[in-house]
Amino acid sequence: MSTPHHDASHHEEEENYLTHETTIQSWLLTKDHKRIALLYLLSITVFFTIGGFFASLIRIELLTPAGDFLTSELYNQAFTSHGVMMIFFFLIPAVPAVLGNFVLPLMVGAKDLAFPRINLASWYIFMAGASCAVLAVLSGGLDTGWTMYPPYSSTYSQSRVTLAVLGVFIAGFASILTGVNFIATVHRMRAPGLTWFRLPLFVWANYATSLVMVLGTPVIAITMVLLGLEHVFGFGFFDPAKGGDPVLFQHLFWFYSHPAVYIMILPAMGVISEIISTFSRQKLFGYSFVAMSSLAIAILGFLVWGHHMFTTSQSPYTGILFSALTFLVAIPSAIKAFNWTATLYKGSVVWETPMLFAFGFMGLFLIGGLTGLFLATMGMDIHLQDTYFVVAHFHYVMVGGGVMGYMGGIHFWWPKITGKMYSQFWSKLSALFIFAGFNFTFFPQFILGYMGMPRRYHSYPDEWQVLNVMSTMGASILAIGYILPGIYLAHSIFFGKKAPRNPWGATGLEWQTSSPPPPHNFHETPIVTTEAYDYQSLPLSETPEKEGGHV
C-alpha cells in the first residue's frame, strides 16, 4: 500500500489516463474503468446512430397515410430494429456503462471498479451481443417488435429471431456484470470517511440501478433461452397448440422489461441530482428522501409488470394489485421532482448547458411520469393500451428523461472526461433544439393515441395525417439537436480550451483530481470529512475561471 505516495506530485500535470499509453492494444486490453467507459461511449453512439436511422425511416413513412415509402415488411423491421437497438444497446448501457463506469469509482474515491477485468469482459460481451443483433438486422432483419411476443415471434415470424434472441441474451450478461461490479465497488471500495449517507446521489442511483440489473436481467436471459428453444426446436413453452401459454411469456418478459425502464431512468435521475445541486450551489433538498426514493423505485419497479397486461386474459383481480402498486411507484418519482425543484430555493443558480438539459429533463420527465398515471388507471388503459399514447408516454420517460439525463451528464462531465471545454453557444442551442424538437415530435402522439391510432401501424386513416406530419417535422428538429453535439463535442477535443480541474465549482471527489484524471484516478486516496454537496467549504479558487468556462 505504498504506491499512491511515491508517485504523488511528480507528474501531476503531464500524465493522464488518455496519454500514458496510446497504442490500440492499450485501449482494447485496458482495465482502466475510464477507458472502458470511452469504449462504451463510442459503441453506444454507433448503436444510437443505427437506431436513429431506423427512427427516421419510421417518421418518413408516417408522413403520408398510405404505406408508400417502405413495404410493410421493411416498416416492421424498421420499428423493431429501432426498438432493439435503442433499448438494449443504447438506453440500458447509456448512463451506467458510460457515465457510471467513468464517474462512479472517482466519486467513491477508488482507483478503479472492484473487478477491472470483469469490467473489460463486460464490454466484450456487450459487443458480442450487439454484433449478433446488428447482424440480425442486416441479414434479413427482425420483424417481431422489440417485445418479441410469441406465438408470432416463436412460430410465425420468418425473420432472424434466433440471432436477435442470442444477441439480447448475451448483452444481458454485460449488464449483469456491470451491476455486480458497481455493487461490490459501492460496498467495499469507498474512500475513508465516505459513509453511505455522504455518497453523491449519482452513486445511490447507480447502486439502485445495479440491484435492478442483477435481479432483473437474468430473467430476460432465461426468457430469451425459452423463446429461442421454442423458435428453433418448437419446445412449445408459449405455444397454445402444445398446451403452452403465450401470456406467460409476457409475464416473464415484463418482469425484466418494466424494471429495465428504471435501469434507463434511475441513473439519469442521479445525473440530474448532481447537476441541479452543482448549478444551484445547494445541497440537494431532502437528500435522504431522494436517495431512498431511488431504492424504493428499484424495489417497487419489480412489482408492477402486470400493468402491461390489463387487456390480456390476466385475471382482473391480479390487475387491481398491479394497478395499485403502479400508482405507488409514482410517489417516489414525485418526491424526486419536488426535491429537485426545491433545491433551487435560496441557491445560487447558473443556467449552464448541463443545467439546461436538467431543466429539459424536468419538463419532459414530468409529462412522461404523469401520463404514466393514465396507463396505471385500469379503465383508462383499456382505451390507450397499444396506441400512440403509450409510444409518446415511454418516449417522454426514456428519451425525455433518460436521454436528457444522459446528455446532461455528458455535458457535465465532458471537461473531466476529455480535459476540454466545449462551446457554450452551440451546446445551449443543441439543448434547445432537443427540447423543442422532442415536444414537437411526441406531444402530437398523445393526441393520436387518444384518437385511437394503434402503434406499429404502417398506414393509417387520413384524418390523422396532420398530427403525423407535425410529429415528423418535430423529429427533424430533434435530429439536428442530436447531430450538433456530435460536431461541437468532437471539435472541442481538438480545439477546445483546456478544462480546469473543477470548471463548475462542484463538490464531488471526481472534481478534486486533475482533468483528465491520472491513470489511477488519485495520486493520494482522498479522505472524506464532510457530507455530499458541501458548498460552504468549497474554496474560492475552485470556482470556474471566467475565461475557462466560456468559449
Binding site: V180, R188, V214, I222, H520
Partner: protein, 224 residues
C-alpha cells in the same frame, strides 16, 4: 512467495478488502443465477399446476435410479470441493489439486450419466420439437395428455442449463488445480478457489431442487 504478493491488485488497499470484495461480487453473481433459474422454476410451477396429471405421467418416464445415483455423485462432488477449499486454506497444494481432480471426476460422472439418460429419451422419442411421436402417443398408440410434451420441454431446458453450468465449472476447476500446483494460492490468498467453490455448490443445490421436481413427482402420484 512472490506470486502471492503480486496477487493483490493495485486498486485494493489490502488482502482483506480484496477478499471481501470478491466474496460480495460472487454472492451478487449467485443471486443473479438464482433469478436465472427462478424464471425456469416459475415456468415449471405454472405448467405443473395447470397439468398435474400429465406432469406426473411424464415424470414416470424418467429413470429414478439413475437420477438418484447422480444426486449422490453430485453431493460427493460438493464434499470434495469443500475439502479442496480447506486444503487451499491450509496451504496444502497437493491436497488441493487432488480434491479438485476428484471433484472434476464426480462432475464428469454426473455428465456422463446425463448423456446416457438423454440418449434413453432419444430412443423413446421424447425430444420435444425434434421428435414428437413419443410425446404424442405412447407405445400402445394411446394419446398422451396435454402438458406431457411441456414437461419434457421443461425437463430438457432445466437439466440442460444445469449441465451447461457444470460444463463451465469443470474447466474452471481444472485451471484452479493447475494454478494451485504452481503455487499461486496459499493461506493468505486462495480467493479464486473459494469463489469457484461457491459456484460449484450453487450448481449442486440447483440439482437438489431439480431432482425431486423432475424425477419424483411421478412416483408420488403413481402411489395413489
Amino acid at each position: 512467495m512472490s506470486s502471492v504478493a503480486t496477487s493483490l491488485q493495485h486498486h485494493f488497499a489490502d488482502f482483506k478488502q480484496q477478499k471481501e470484495t470478491a466474496v460480495l461480487g460472487m454472492w451478487s453473481f449467485l443471486i443473479q443465477e438464482v433469478m436465472f433459474f427462478g424464471g425456469l422454476f416459475l415456468t415449471y410451477v405454472v405448467y405443473r399446476s395447470q397439468y398435474p396429471g400429465a406432469f406426473a405421467l411424464a415424470s414416470a418416464q424418467l429413470n429414478v435410479n439413475l437420477g438418484g445415483a447422480n444426486t449422490i455423485v453430485l453431493i460427493c462432488s460438493s464434499l470434495t470441493m469443500a475439502m479442496a477449499v480447506h486444503a487451499a486454506s491450509k496451504g496444502n497444494r497437493a491436497g488441493m489439486a487432488g480434491w479438485l481432480l476428484l471433484t472434476i471426476m464426480f462432475g464428469s460422472i454426473f455428465l456422463g450419466v446425463k448423456v446416457f439418460e438423454y440418449k434413453e429419451k432419444w430412443d423413446h422419442g421424447l425430444i420435444p420439437g425434434i421428435q414428437d411421436f413419443g410425446l404424442k402417443f405412447d407405445h400402445e398408440g394411446v394419446p398422451r395428455p396435454t402438458g406431457f410434451a411441456l414437461y419434457f420441454a421443461l425437463y430438457f431446458a432445466m437439466t440442460g442449463l444445469h449441465a451447461v453450468h457444470m460444463i463451465i465449472g469443470i474447466p474452471l476447476l481444472l485451471n484452479l488445480a493447475i494454478n494451485g500446483l504452481r503455487g499461486k494460492y496459499g493461506p493468505h490468498y486462495y480467493t479464486p478457489v473459494e469463489m469457484t467453490g461457491l459456484y460449484w455448490h450453487f450448481v449442486d443445490i440447483v440439482w437438489i431442487f431439480l431432482f425431486p421436481l423432475l424425477y419424483l413427482i411421478g412416483a408420488h402420484v403413481g402411489a395413489h
